[in-house]
């Protein structure tokens, strides 16, 4: 038996409590790329947070819903998914209602890493020779200069190029990105907030470590001994985590490795709000405002589509290690 946690101070709470306590107007938030906390994101919309800055290497569907709902008015990202086609998001990006700074998948991940490690900047060769380095882009009026005010009141650049003092090579300097709040949906956690997630994790671990506040929702809350007999799966320990939400299907319609697969039927439906404002209202009314908890959302989903669609995405033949890894020392 593994030892139990030294002290236990449960961080378990509901989605509503977690968002109420820890997400504030004006915050910079990370809300996942591959381990997307849809339930928590919908709760942010229900609680009508405003002026959020959504950061992430790829701001997928959940982040774009925050923009569409008027909760987010700016973002720093390398990708916004297929939400643009001449619809509301494209409109907002063009007219400046949604301000943004363009990065890439690697550069955003490096920015989280820099913040997580307490580095003042991080060098990369990405963007060398490209138009990201032109003045027009660096000083774009839809950019986030207002988020880059230094303590002395001057404006920090978005990117800078310098020569390495060691080799003379040119390199692009990226600023650290430190979210106020980072959220993911994971496979399992314990009530102390030890978080285990697996599968392709994209930038999530770095965003969690970079953030001031970490909120996770989990498919399962497990005893601490489950975590502490397999600690290699932990992506962030409880002492860095503020809130844990037990939320089965909290990652739907995205996939959760070992639990359920991407729900392509729902994504087709969920693409609708990005087509025009009326469809957006309809979607939010039904699936966000009309389903105040994830359990309610799941019930609504089953009512609307029958059990078949939901059952179809559930993992029925999970992969388990052919030879479980041993650990231990005596």
């Amino acid at each position: 038996m593994a030892p139990s946690a030294r002290r236990s101070r449960s961080k378990l709470m509901t989605e509503a409590e977690a968002v109420e306590r820890f997400v504030h107007d004006g915050d910079t938030i990370y809300c996942g790329f591959t381990v997307v906390p849809y339930g928590l994101t919908f709760e942010i919309i229900r609680q009508n947070r405003r002026r959020l800055n959504v950061v992430g290497s790829s701001n997928v569907f959940s982040a774009m819903l925050l923009a569409l709902a008027g909760c987010a008015d700016r973002m720093e990202t390398g990708y916004v998914g297929g939400t643009l086609t001449n619809g509301p998001i494209n409109e907002m990006m063009k007219d400046g209602r949604l301000r943004f700074e363009d990065y890439s998948n690697l550069t955003m991940t490096l920015r989280f890493m820099a913040a997580a490690l307490g580095m003042p900047f991080v060098p990369t060769n990405s963007f060398l020779g490209t138009d990201y380095l032109t003045q027009e882009v660096l000083e774009h009026e839809h950019g986030l200069a207002s988020d880059r005010i230094r303590p002395d009141g001057s404006v920090a650049p978005k990117l800078a190029v310098m020569e390495s003092p060691f080799t003379g090579e040119k390199t692009v300097l990226l600023s650290p990105c430190r979210p106020n709040v980072a959220m993911i949906h994971c496979q399992r956690a314990d009530e102390d907030g030890n978080v285990q997630a697996w599968g392709p994790l994209a930038d999530s671990k770095w965003a969690l470590w970079a953030a001031d506040i970490v909120i996770v929702s989990a498919e399962e809350i497990v005893p601490s001994s489950v975590i502490r007999t397999d600690p290699g799966r932990t992506v962030i320990p409880g002492f860095r985590v503020s809130a844990v939400v037990e939320n089965p299907l909290g990652g739907h319609p995205g996939p959760v490795s070992g639990y359920y697969y991407r729900d392509k039927h729902f994504f087709a439906l969920a693409g609708q709000p990005f087509k025009d404002w009326d469809s957006a209202t309809e979607f939010f009314d039904k699936w966000v405002y009309g389903a105040p908890t994830r359990a309610e959302y799941v019930r609504k989903y089953r009512d609307a589509f029958g059990d078949e669609l939901m059952d179809d995405i559930m993992v029925k033949n999970p992969i388990v290690p052919e030879q479980p890894a041993k650990s231990g020392w005596r």
């Binding site: 990201y132 599968g199 994209a202």
Partner: protein, 275 residues
């Protein structure tokens, strides 16, 4: 877009099938490839299944050296958790795009782009100008990172006049930049041989040393069955050079067609105009 299947003889495959298969054939022996969203995921899967089973197939979100089991479809995104089955390593973006790509360990990148120019630079974010975009695209993802750091670029771009430009509207991804010597002057490693696989033909670039010398300009190297040089020249807006030993790209084999149809039974990757 020119020859759709409607006005061409029925060959049993579409231009986009041929594009994915031709891109798959471009993967060289023992390559380590970062494979991007859209048709590259399908093309890379075809290469892995039949042309280069020894290749390392890596995607940005963390799967490293994915080997598909029988009957498994091509990954639906670069983050498809289906790749946790059969990968040598599944971690995260700092590993896949950092250790692997920025670290110089990706011999090739295979990415789709919205636009490409005469010198192989790619655009993935917008049409128009940055200040006044006519349209924004989903974004660059890891495309810009691949252009900076991968050993060479295998790009997939449908052959349409709005996509082939003297200069791309926005250069997100470094190809040969302004021409010979420009990559090194910008601080980038040489890159190549680069190739652009379209829905009608294959373009290569006039440089044998990764962009140090040669014109670095795109030239027509191979035509798909039923396409003429004039068809291609009518779409490309500059005075396109043509290889003296221009080849006819062999049509798909039955094995290639069977494989691509099995990997993408629902044809999600082969929707013209989707990417």
């Amino acid at each position: 877009m020119a020859p759709a299947t409607g006005d061409a003889p029925d060959r049993g495959y579409d231009p986009i099938d041929m594009q994915c298969i031709a891109a798959a054939r471009e993967v060289a022996a023992n390559e380590t490839v970062i494979v991007g969203m859209g048709p590259p995921l399908l093309a890379g899967s075809v290469a892995k299944k039949i042309h280069r089973p020894e290749m390392a197939f890596v995607t940005e979100a963390g799967p490293i050296d994915w080997t598909p089991s029988d009957g498994v479809p091509a990954p639906n995104t670069i983050a498809d958790p289906a790749m946790t089955e059969g990968s040598a390593m599944v971690t995260d973006m700092l590993d896949a795009l950092g250790l692997f790509v920025m670290g110089g360990r990706a011999s090739a990148a295979m990415f789709q782009a919205a636009q490409i120019d005469r010198l192989g630079n790619l655009n993935t974010i917008l049409v128009g100008t940055y200040a006044n975009p006519v349209r924004r695209f989903p974004g660059t993802g890891g495309n810009a990172d691949g252009g900076a750091s991968a050993g060479r670029m295998i790009s997939t771009v449908p052959l349409e006049s709005r996509r082939f430009r003297e200069r791309v509207d926005f250069r997100t991804t470094a190809g040969y930049l302004e021409g010979p010597g420009a990559r090194e002057a910008a601080g980038l490693r040489p890159q190549g041989p680069n190739v652009c696989v379209t829905t009608m033909c294959i373009f290569r670039f006039d440089t044998t040393d990764g962009g140090r010398t040669g014109s670095c300009e795109m030239y027509l190297d191979g035509l798909f069955d039923g396409v003429s040089v004039e068809d291609v020249k009518a779409i490309v807006p500059w005075d396109l050079q043509v290889a003296s030993d221009l080849v006819l790209v062999p049509p798909p084999t039955s094995e290639e067609l069977e494989t691509i149809n099995e990997l993408d039974a629902e044809r999600v990757y082969r929707v013209p105009g989707r990417y």
